[in-house]
């Protein structure tokens, strides 16, 4: 392998993570739970239809509902697992007293941070990719296009990378893994629950005011909320509801893309800058 492009930390972390049977057992349980849900859903939908209504099959609406539920399950997985996978990436090295030796090697800070981030994400990516065959069952019943599935995959990748970058950043800045994890989960909560609340709150302020004009803040808070963006990607019609509420017609996914890409760049930049001490800094 060309040493110029290889990332020793990434290779080592992947080796360590997949050497442990725990990783595979985790994926196995996830896929088993997902399969149980999907086949349970299919069974219920095909047997509970009222007699004489042409039941015994899954219509496109039901197929779409299944896809929507699966997407939200995947989103929950991304939101809850990513902080746990990334928030200990640097701080645990510090706690295990291996970080100093890593920092005295000639690897760049960028290489180390990227290796840590990508290796943590790799596990989650494997989980998502391995669930694709179950996910793809909805194609049998229509209602979802492959392009929509690809879009969702890209969305998950971006969201995972963003939350993962925040996790690695906190892991670099905070010495204790437990505290770094709390900070990352706190950020995740702010991006989901708090943005949702702020969006509704600022929109309601607009309604309550004397001039019911556009509410850019309400639109912004909604645009960076992962659940809102998933809804807009799944059914573009939901964008109209948001436009009606905020008075702004700008597509939420563009704001989401810009915001989360900026978040990735900023978090990685801070982590790279703070990983090693500045030898010129004095105290």
């Amino acid at each position: 392998m060309n040493t110029k492009f290889s990332n020793p930390v990434l290779m080592k972390e992947i080796k360590l993570r997949f050497r442990s049977p725990k990783s595979f057992v985790g994926i196995l349980f996830y896929l088993a739970a997902m399969s149980l849900f999907v086949f349970g859903f299919l069974y219920l939908m095909t047997t509970l239809d009222a007699p004489g209504t042409g039941g015994g099959f899954l219509n496109t609406e039901e197929s779409f509902i299944l896809f929507t539920i699966l997407t939200y399950i995947q989103l929950a997985l991304v939101l809850f697992i990513t902080p746990g996978l990334t928030a200990g990436s640097i701080s645990s090295e510090r706690e295990k007293q291996t970080l100093n030796m890593l920092l005295t090697t000639t690897q760049t800070s960028y290489q180390i941070i990227l290796g840590k981030l990508l290796s943590s994400i790799a596990f989650l990516a494997l989980m998502i990719v391995s669930s694709l065959p179950i996910y793809s069952l909805v194609f049998l019943f229509g209602g979802i296009s492959p392009a929509q599935l690809a879009l969702m995959l890209f969305y998950f990748l971006l969201t995972t990378l963003a939350i993962g970058s925040v996790g690695v950043m906190f892991s670099t800045l905070i010495r204790k893994t437990a505290v770094a994890m709390i900070a990352t989960y706190g950020t995740m909560l702010a991006l989901t629950a708090v943005t949702g609340f702020l969006s509704v709150f600022t929109a309601s302020l607009g309604f309550a005011g004397s001039s019911a004009g556009p509410s850019p803040m309400a639109h912004f808070w909604a645009s960076i909320n992962p659940a809102v963006v998933v809804a807009s990607l799944l059914s573009p019609g939901s964008g109209n509801i948001l436009s009606d509420m905020t008075g702004i017609e700008f597509p939420v996914w563009i704001i989401y893309l810009i915001f989360y890409t900026s978040l990735i760049i900023l978090s990685v930049f801070i982590a790279v800058k703070k990983l090693r001490v500045n030898m010129k800094a004095g105290n």
Binding site: T3, T105, M279, G282
Partner: protein, 311 residues
């Protein structure tokens, strides 16, 4: 090879290093002795580019830790006093990871790792998990890791701490081999006699200041001062007492007629001591043997650091 210039480090109001000046020539094995909090680990951490100095600078092979830390990392192999290992990696994989981290090409790593494992006597453990190694073996593995990129300078912070006597002997053997490889080694230890065996020179750090720096032998002789000499006699001790009483630098004579032995303290130089003993041998009372109480390096260390930082 190592040039430390007015290096200072403070943690808030606590001054860990006070304008430390130290020059260590290429190929020297230099031992640093000091009590806890003397500034040894702080100095080593700065040299390993893990800690920025408050003022001053240190050059490793001409590269400044302040201005060119990347270059310093290429030149330095560092072994910290406390370290962890990746337990789930095998010994070979552990070294391979660090070889990759130093940008060593894949095709050359196998031979290099084999040589290093042989150097630290771990060849038979190449395929075992690091987790299963004893503490002494982990110390040796860490030493091999610090040598993986063939650094010019080795910085070893307490490499023998916490080891059992057998592991210490093994570590000492490896140090001797490093010395033969002509590496410049900066090593700290609390086990002073071991340092004396391994090092060309020793520096004593006390409260962030270098209070003594010399060869092991010179430090010994400088601090010997009054030393106790015991002379065993063939003849009666009263004659010997009379002889030694009239000699310069001799004080506190005590005789034991039953075992025919005279003890006294001597404050002269080593040459003057040799002269005295030669002339005593020519006397009628007859000298069976001489012995000088060995000054322990720990005593030397205590004597130097007792004076405080005022030196």
């Amino acid at each position: 090879m190592i040039d430390i210039r007015k290096l200072s480090k403070s943690y808030g109001s606590f001054q860990a290093l006070h304008e430390l000046d130290l020059e260590i020539p290429e190929g020297t094995v230099f031992g640093v002795v000091g009590a806890n909090g003397a500034g040894k680990s702080t100095t080593f951490s700065i040299l390993a580019t893990l800690l920025p100095p408050s003022s001053g600078d240190a050059l490793i092979g001409g590269a400044s830790v302040r201005d060119s830390p990347e270059e310093v990392r290429r030149k330095v192999g560092y072994m910290p006093d406390f370290f962890g290992v990746y337990d789930q990696l095998k010994t070979e994989e552990y070294l391979d990871f660090y070889a990759a981290s130093y940008g060593i090409a894949l095709h050359g790593r196998g031979v290099l790792i084999g040589q290093l494992l042989e150097l630290v006597n771990l060849s038979d453990k190449h395929d075992v998990y690091v987790d299963s190694l004893s503490r002494g073996m982990k110390q040796r593995l860490c030493l091999a890791r610090s040598l993986i990129h063939d650094p010019q300078v080795l910085i070893l912070d307490e490499p023998a701490s916490g080891l059992d006597p057998r592991a210490r002997v093994e570590m000492r053997g490896i140090m001797k081999r490093l010395k033969e490889m002509d590496k410049t080694v900066l090593i700290s230890s609390h086990i002073l006699p071991e340092l004396a065996e391994m090092c060309d020179e020793i520096g004593v750090l006390d409260r962030g200041r270098l209070v003594a720096r010399n060869s092991v032998r010179e430090i010994h002789s400088r601090l010997k001062g009054d030393r106790m000499i015991t002379v065993k006699l063939n003849g009666p001790s009263d004659e010997a007492v009379r002889f030694f009483e009239n000699r310069p630098f001799v004080a506190g004579i005590a005789a034991d007629p039953q075992v025919r032995e005279v003890r006294f303290s001597f404050s002269g130089s080593e040459e003057e001591q040799a002269e005295l003993l030669a002339s005593a041998s020519a006397e009628k009372f007859g000298v069976r043997s001489f012995s000088e109480e060995e000054t322990d390096l720990e005593d030397v260390f205590m004597a130097i650091t007792e004076g405080g930082s005022g030196q």
